[in-house]
Amino acid sequence: MEYKIFRKVKILITAFISATVAMAVVYENMILALAGVLIGLLFLFLVKKKTKAVWVDERIKSVGGHAALLTHTILTSVIAFLSLVFIIGGRQTDKLQIEALGIVLSYIVLSSLAIYAMSYKYYLKKYSDEDEE
């Protein structure tokens, strides 16, 4: 199957899912909505498998890498700032829950940085060979 045909099939599947969800809302039937979404997604997955098209290439990977780095930077900075605010705010107002939340968030930031450092080291090692002269 070609990519153009896949796009048409994708529109049809989306329409099917939308119709099913709309009907489920009208009849207040959650099972119908769930079944419609699941069947649609399953069908989409099968059709995508049959399609002879390239989904991921080096440009997509490069874009994904840049986006991931930006996301990590923004998310880590925001959570670190929030944890600081919660810890200081919690201590000043004597609210242990808020301080605890700040500590949990700071540990999340630390974990995120640790995973980033580990993966960075792994890829640095993978793409550099110091044995050769």
């Binding site: 390239v54 290439d57 080096e58 440009r59 997509i60 490069s62």
Partner: protein
């Protein structure tokens, strides 16, 4: 970096889709390379050169 992919594609009577299929990349990647918005890897550049039967220097030039 500039390239003459569009010229060589026209000379070989190939569409962006044809070239994308031959190189195993998406059509959007070919568009991005042609518009100088994305610099391909050395491997992809060599594949492009091989597809057109040219050397890399004839297709890609530094500004």
């Amino acid at each position: 970096m500039k390239n003459k992919i569009k010229v060589f594609r026209a000379m070989n009577d190939m569409t962006q889709e044809d070239l994308a299929i031959k190189l195993n990349v998406t059509r959007q990647t070919i568009i991005a390379i042609e518009k100088n918005k994305y610099n391909p890897s050395l491997e992809l550049a060599m594949k492009i050169a091989k597809t057109f039967g040219q050397t890399i220097e004839k297709i890609f030039t530094l500004d």
